[in-house]
Protein backbone atom coordinates (compact mmCIF):
# COMPACT_ATOMS: atom_id res chain seq x y z
CA UNK A 1 0.00 0.00 0.00
CA UNK A 2 1.13 3.51 -0.68
CA UNK A 3 2.14 5.60 2.26
CA UNK A 4 -0.63 8.11 1.84
CA UNK A 5 -3.51 5.66 1.94
CA UNK A 6 -2.01 3.94 4.98
CA UNK A 7 -1.90 7.27 6.76
CA UNK A 8 -5.49 7.98 5.68
CA UNK A 9 -6.68 4.57 6.80
CA UNK A 10 -4.82 4.79 10.08
CA UNK A 11 -6.80 7.93 10.84
CA UNK A 12 -10.19 6.35 10.37
CA UNK A 13 -11.21 3.81 13.00
CA UNK A 14 -13.35 0.94 11.75
CA UNK A 15 -16.02 -0.12 12.60
CA UNK A 16 -17.82 3.09 13.62
CA UNK A 17 -19.43 3.17 17.05
CA UNK A 18 -21.87 5.20 19.10
CA UNK A 19 -18.87 7.31 20.15
CA UNK A 20 -18.93 8.82 16.65
CA UNK A 21 -22.17 10.61 17.53
CA UNK A 22 -20.54 12.48 20.42
CA UNK A 23 -18.70 15.27 18.67
CA UNK A 24 -15.89 17.36 20.17
CA UNK A 25 -16.66 20.61 21.93
CA UNK A 26 -16.49 23.83 19.87
CA UNK A 27 -16.66 26.36 22.73
CA UNK A 28 -14.24 25.90 24.46
CA UNK A 29 -12.38 24.52 21.45
CA UNK A 30 -11.55 20.84 22.06
CA UNK A 31 -12.54 21.10 25.74
CA UNK A 32 -13.10 17.85 27.62
CA UNK A 33 -15.11 19.10 30.57
CA UNK A 34 -17.78 21.12 28.77
CA UNK A 35 -20.01 19.86 25.99
CA UNK A 36 -22.57 22.67 25.94
CA UNK A 37 -21.65 23.80 22.44
CA UNK A 38 -20.85 21.18 19.82
CA UNK A 39 -21.60 20.84 16.11
CA UNK A 40 -25.03 19.50 17.10
CA UNK A 41 -25.82 22.70 19.00
CA UNK A 42 -24.52 24.82 16.14
CA UNK A 43 -26.66 22.98 13.58
CA UNK A 44 -29.73 23.41 15.80
CA UNK A 45 -29.31 27.18 16.01
CA UNK A 46 -28.47 27.46 12.32
CA UNK A 47 -31.67 25.55 11.51
CA UNK A 48 -33.78 27.83 13.70
CA UNK A 49 -32.16 30.93 12.22
CA UNK A 50 -32.61 29.68 8.65
CA UNK A 51 -36.31 29.00 9.16
CA UNK A 52 -37.00 32.36 10.85
CA UNK A 53 -35.06 34.35 8.27
CA UNK A 54 -36.50 32.44 5.30
CA UNK A 55 -40.12 32.96 6.29
CA UNK A 56 -39.58 36.57 7.42
CA UNK A 57 -37.92 37.49 4.13
CA UNK A 58 -40.36 35.66 1.90
CA UNK A 59 -43.45 37.01 3.65
CA UNK A 60 -42.16 40.55 4.21
CA UNK A 61 -43.89 42.12 1.24
CA UNK A 62 -46.27 39.52 -0.14
CA UNK A 63 -47.24 40.18 -3.74
CA UNK A 64 -50.42 39.10 -5.47
CA UNK A 65 -48.26 37.56 -8.17
CA UNK A 66 -45.67 35.84 -5.96
CA UNK A 67 -41.93 36.05 -6.47
CA UNK A 68 -40.04 32.80 -6.64
CA UNK A 69 -39.14 32.78 -2.92
CA UNK A 70 -42.64 33.70 -1.87
CA UNK A 71 -43.93 30.91 -4.10
CA UNK A 72 -41.67 28.37 -2.38
CA UNK A 73 -42.75 29.48 1.09
CA UNK A 74 -46.42 29.48 0.10
CA UNK A 75 -46.06 26.05 -1.46
CA UNK A 76 -44.61 24.58 1.73
CA UNK A 77 -47.31 26.16 3.88
CA UNK A 78 -50.00 25.25 1.38
CA UNK A 79 -48.83 21.67 1.24
CA UNK A 80 -48.97 21.17 5.00
CA UNK A 81 -52.22 23.12 5.36
CA UNK A 82 -54.15 21.42 2.57
CA UNK A 83 -52.60 17.96 2.37
CA UNK A 84 -52.06 17.31 6.08
CA UNK A 85 -54.02 19.70 8.33
CA UNK A 86 -57.28 20.20 6.40
CA UNK A 87 -57.15 16.71 4.98
CA UNK A 88 -57.11 15.12 8.43
CA UNK A 89 -58.83 17.65 10.66
CA UNK A 90 -61.35 19.26 8.30
CA UNK A 91 -62.08 22.97 8.75
CA UNK A 92 -60.52 23.03 12.21
CA UNK A 93 -57.27 21.98 10.58
CA UNK A 94 -56.56 25.57 9.54
CA UNK A 95 -56.05 26.43 13.23
CA UNK A 96 -53.34 23.78 13.46
CA UNK A 97 -51.67 24.53 10.12
CA UNK A 98 -49.12 27.05 11.52
CA UNK A 99 -47.87 24.63 14.18
CA UNK A 100 -47.82 21.66 11.81
CA UNK A 101 -45.93 23.67 9.18
CA UNK A 102 -43.37 24.80 11.74
CA UNK A 103 -42.97 21.22 12.93
CA UNK A 104 -42.61 19.89 9.38
CA UNK A 105 -40.08 22.49 8.27
CA UNK A 106 -38.08 22.21 11.51
CA UNK A 107 -37.79 18.41 11.30
CA UNK A 108 -37.03 18.59 7.58
CA UNK A 109 -34.17 21.07 8.03
CA UNK A 110 -32.83 19.28 11.11
CA UNK A 111 -32.85 15.95 9.26
CA UNK A 112 -31.37 17.48 6.16
CA UNK A 113 -28.04 18.16 7.88
CA UNK A 114 -27.42 14.42 7.64
CA UNK A 115 -26.49 14.75 3.96
CA UNK A 116 -25.18 18.32 3.78
CA UNK A 117 -21.43 18.23 3.10
CA UNK A 118 -19.32 19.18 6.16
CA UNK A 119 -22.36 19.00 8.45
CA UNK A 120 -22.96 15.29 7.77
CA UNK A 121 -24.87 14.57 10.95
CA UNK A 122 -28.43 15.31 11.93
CA UNK A 123 -29.14 16.65 15.43
CA UNK A 124 -32.16 14.33 15.34
CA UNK A 125 -29.78 11.38 15.61
CA UNK A 126 -29.61 12.29 19.31
CA UNK A 127 -32.83 11.17 20.94
CA UNK A 128 -33.19 14.36 23.00
CA UNK A 129 -34.43 16.36 20.00
CA UNK A 130 -37.14 13.92 18.78
CA UNK A 131 -38.10 13.30 22.41
CA UNK A 132 -38.85 16.97 23.05
CA UNK A 133 -40.85 17.22 19.82
CA UNK A 134 -42.80 14.09 20.79
CA UNK A 135 -43.52 15.50 24.26
CA UNK A 136 -44.89 18.68 22.65
CA UNK A 137 -47.19 16.62 20.40
CA UNK A 138 -48.23 14.46 23.39
CA UNK A 139 -49.08 17.37 25.67
CA UNK A 140 -50.81 19.13 22.79
CA UNK A 141 -53.18 16.32 21.84
CA UNK A 142 -54.10 15.63 25.47
CA UNK A 143 -54.69 19.35 26.13
CA UNK A 144 -56.80 19.70 22.98
CA UNK A 145 -58.78 16.60 23.88
CA UNK A 146 -59.45 17.87 27.40
CA UNK A 147 -60.48 21.26 26.06
CA UNK A 148 -62.76 19.76 23.43
CA UNK A 149 -64.48 17.17 25.61
CA UNK A 150 -64.21 19.03 28.90
CA UNK A 151 -61.59 17.89 31.41
CA UNK A 152 -61.73 14.29 32.52
CA UNK A 153 -64.49 13.43 30.05
CA UNK A 154 -61.75 13.24 27.44
CA UNK A 155 -60.14 10.31 29.24
CA UNK A 156 -63.51 8.60 29.47
CA UNK A 157 -63.91 9.12 25.73
CA UNK A 158 -60.37 7.99 24.94
CA UNK A 159 -60.26 4.97 27.24
CA UNK A 160 -63.75 3.50 27.06
CA UNK A 161 -64.59 2.13 23.62
CA UNK A 162 -68.17 1.41 22.56
CA UNK A 163 -68.40 -2.19 23.77
CA UNK A 164 -70.43 -4.34 26.18
CA UNK A 165 -69.44 -3.91 29.84
CA UNK A 166 -68.02 -7.42 30.41
CA UNK A 167 -65.33 -6.95 27.75
CA UNK A 168 -64.25 -3.47 28.95
CA UNK A 169 -61.73 -4.71 31.58
CA UNK A 170 -59.92 -6.41 28.70
CA UNK A 171 -59.97 -3.36 26.41
CA UNK A 172 -59.26 -0.43 28.72
CA UNK A 173 -55.65 -1.44 29.50
CA UNK A 174 -54.99 -1.88 25.77
CA UNK A 175 -56.47 1.56 25.02
CA UNK A 176 -54.45 3.17 27.80
CA UNK A 177 -51.24 1.54 26.69
CA UNK A 178 -51.61 2.30 22.99
CA UNK A 179 -52.85 5.88 23.42
CA UNK A 180 -50.94 7.27 26.38
CA UNK A 181 -47.75 5.22 26.57
CA UNK A 182 -46.85 3.95 23.10
CA UNK A 183 -47.61 7.17 21.18
CA UNK A 184 -44.94 9.58 22.45
CA UNK A 185 -42.41 6.78 22.65
CA UNK A 186 -42.95 5.58 19.09
CA UNK A 187 -42.99 9.13 17.70
CA UNK A 188 -39.60 9.89 19.25
CA UNK A 189 -37.98 6.55 18.55
CA UNK A 190 -39.14 6.41 14.91
CA UNK A 191 -37.49 9.71 14.02
CA UNK A 192 -34.39 9.14 16.17
CA UNK A 193 -33.77 5.60 14.93
CA UNK A 194 -34.11 6.56 11.28
CA UNK A 195 -31.60 9.39 11.57
CA UNK A 196 -29.26 7.35 13.76
CA UNK A 197 -29.29 4.37 11.39
CA UNK A 198 -28.85 6.63 8.36
CA UNK A 199 -25.74 8.25 9.82
CA UNK A 200 -24.39 4.86 10.88
CA UNK A 201 -24.91 3.40 7.38
CA UNK A 202 -23.09 6.26 5.69
CA UNK A 203 -20.25 5.93 8.22
CA UNK A 204 -19.96 2.18 7.68
CA UNK A 205 -19.66 2.48 3.92
CA UNK A 206 -17.36 5.53 3.94
CA UNK A 207 -15.01 4.15 6.59
CA UNK A 208 -15.36 0.63 5.18
CA UNK A 209 -13.85 1.90 1.93
CA UNK A 210 -10.75 3.05 3.81
CA UNK A 211 -10.62 -0.18 5.81
CA UNK A 212 -10.62 -2.27 2.61
CA UNK A 213 -8.07 0.00 0.95
CA UNK A 214 -5.83 -0.72 3.89
CA UNK A 215 -6.58 -4.44 4.28
CA UNK A 216 -4.73 -6.07 1.37
CA UNK A 217 -4.24 -5.62 -2.35
CA UNK A 218 -7.18 -7.91 -3.27
CA UNK A 219 -9.67 -5.91 -1.22
CA UNK A 220 -8.46 -2.49 -2.33
CA UNK A 221 -10.48 -2.27 -5.61
CA UNK A 222 -13.69 -2.96 -3.70
CA UNK A 223 -13.28 0.21 -1.70
CA UNK A 224 -14.60 1.94 -4.83
CA UNK A 225 -17.75 -0.20 -4.59
CA UNK A 226 -18.10 0.82 -0.96
CA UNK A 227 -17.88 4.52 -1.82
CA UNK A 228 -20.35 4.08 -4.68
CA UNK A 229 -22.74 2.58 -2.13
CA UNK A 230 -22.21 5.67 0.02
CA UNK A 231 -23.42 7.85 -2.85
CA UNK A 232 -26.42 5.60 -3.49
CA UNK A 233 -27.28 5.56 0.23
CA UNK A 234 -27.09 9.34 0.33
CA UNK A 235 -30.02 9.42 -2.10
CA UNK A 236 -31.84 6.89 0.07
CA UNK A 237 -31.15 9.15 3.06
CA UNK A 238 -32.74 12.05 1.20
CA UNK A 239 -35.89 9.95 0.80
CA UNK A 240 -35.86 8.97 4.49
CA UNK A 241 -35.33 12.60 5.56
CA UNK A 242 -38.40 13.85 3.71
CA UNK A 243 -40.50 10.83 4.63
CA UNK A 244 -39.78 11.04 8.36
CA UNK A 245 -40.55 14.76 8.51
CA UNK A 246 -43.85 14.01 6.74
CA UNK A 247 -44.66 11.00 8.94
CA UNK A 248 -44.03 12.90 12.19
CA UNK A 249 -46.32 15.72 11.06
CA UNK A 250 -49.06 13.40 9.81
CA UNK A 251 -49.03 11.38 13.03
CA UNK A 252 -49.22 14.52 15.16
CA UNK A 253 -52.20 15.62 13.07
CA UNK A 254 -53.76 12.19 13.43
CA UNK A 255 -53.41 12.26 17.23
CA UNK A 256 -55.09 15.67 17.30
CA UNK A 257 -57.80 14.22 15.07
CA UNK A 258 -58.32 11.41 17.57
CA UNK A 259 -58.57 13.90 20.43
CA UNK A 260 -61.13 16.00 18.56
CA UNK A 261 -63.23 13.05 17.38
CA UNK A 262 -66.81 12.96 18.58
CA UNK A 263 -68.77 9.89 19.56
CA UNK A 264 -69.95 8.02 16.50
Amino acid sequence: MTGQSTVLAADVPFPPSVEDFYLPSIVPWGGHDSYWFTKITALLWISVALIIIFFLVTYRKPKLVPTKKQWIAESIYGFVRNNIAVDMLGKRGINFAPYLTTLFVFILIMNFWAIVPFAQISPNSHIAFPAVLAVISYVMFIYIGMKHHGGLKYFKHALIPPAPWFILPLLIPIEFFSTFIVRPFSLAVRLFANMFAGHMLLLVFTLGGFAMLNANVWFAPFSVVSWAMTIALTFLEFLVICLQAYVFTVLTASYVQGALADEH
Binding site: I167, I174, F177, S178, R183
Partner: protein, 55 residues
Amino acid sequence: MGMTAVAYLIAGMLVWGGIGLLVDHWVGTKGIFAGIGAVVGIGGGVYLIVRRLGA
Protein backbone atom coordinates in the same frame (compact mmCIF):
# COMPACT_ATOMS: atom_id res chain seq x y z
CA MET B 1 -55.00 4.69 10.24
CA GLY B 2 -52.61 1.82 9.55
CA MET B 3 -50.40 2.96 12.42
CA THR B 4 -53.33 2.98 14.83
CA ALA B 5 -54.30 -0.56 13.86
CA VAL B 6 -50.76 -1.88 14.29
CA ALA B 7 -50.48 -0.02 17.61
CA TYR B 8 -53.65 -1.72 18.88
CA LEU B 9 -52.41 -5.20 17.91
CA ILE B 10 -48.98 -4.73 19.49
CA ALA B 11 -50.38 -2.97 22.56
CA GLY B 12 -52.89 -5.78 23.08
CA MET B 13 -50.19 -8.43 22.99
CA LEU B 14 -47.77 -6.45 25.18
CA VAL B 15 -50.26 -5.45 27.86
CA TRP B 16 -51.98 -8.82 28.39
CA GLY B 17 -48.87 -10.84 27.59
CA GLY B 18 -47.04 -8.73 30.17
CA ILE B 19 -49.77 -9.22 32.75
CA GLY B 20 -49.64 -12.96 31.97
CA LEU B 21 -45.89 -12.90 32.50
CA LEU B 22 -46.37 -11.31 35.92
CA VAL B 23 -48.96 -13.98 36.78
CA ASP B 24 -46.49 -16.65 35.64
CA HIS B 25 -43.85 -15.16 37.87
CA TRP B 26 -46.22 -15.05 40.81
CA VAL B 27 -47.75 -18.52 40.38
CA GLY B 28 -44.46 -20.16 39.37
CA THR B 29 -45.47 -21.48 35.97
CA LYS B 30 -43.10 -21.19 33.04
CA GLY B 31 -45.02 -19.14 30.50
CA ILE B 32 -48.49 -20.58 30.07
CA PHE B 33 -50.20 -17.39 31.31
CA ALA B 34 -47.99 -15.16 29.15
CA GLY B 35 -49.09 -17.23 26.14
CA ILE B 36 -52.76 -17.08 27.06
CA GLY B 37 -52.40 -13.36 27.78
CA ALA B 38 -50.85 -12.64 24.38
CA VAL B 39 -53.66 -14.50 22.58
CA VAL B 40 -56.34 -12.77 24.65
CA GLY B 41 -54.61 -9.43 24.13
CA ILE B 42 -54.41 -9.72 20.36
CA GLY B 43 -58.06 -10.74 20.40
CA GLY B 44 -58.87 -7.56 22.30
CA GLY B 45 -56.74 -5.60 19.84
CA VAL B 46 -58.65 -6.99 16.86
CA TYR B 47 -61.95 -6.23 18.62
CA LEU B 48 -60.81 -2.63 19.26
CA ILE B 49 -59.78 -2.18 15.63
CA VAL B 50 -63.19 -3.37 14.48
CA ARG B 51 -65.04 -1.10 16.92
CA ARG B 52 -62.89 2.01 16.59
CA LEU B 53 -61.75 1.90 12.98
CA GLY B 54 -64.30 -0.33 11.30
CA ALA B 55 -67.29 1.06 9.43
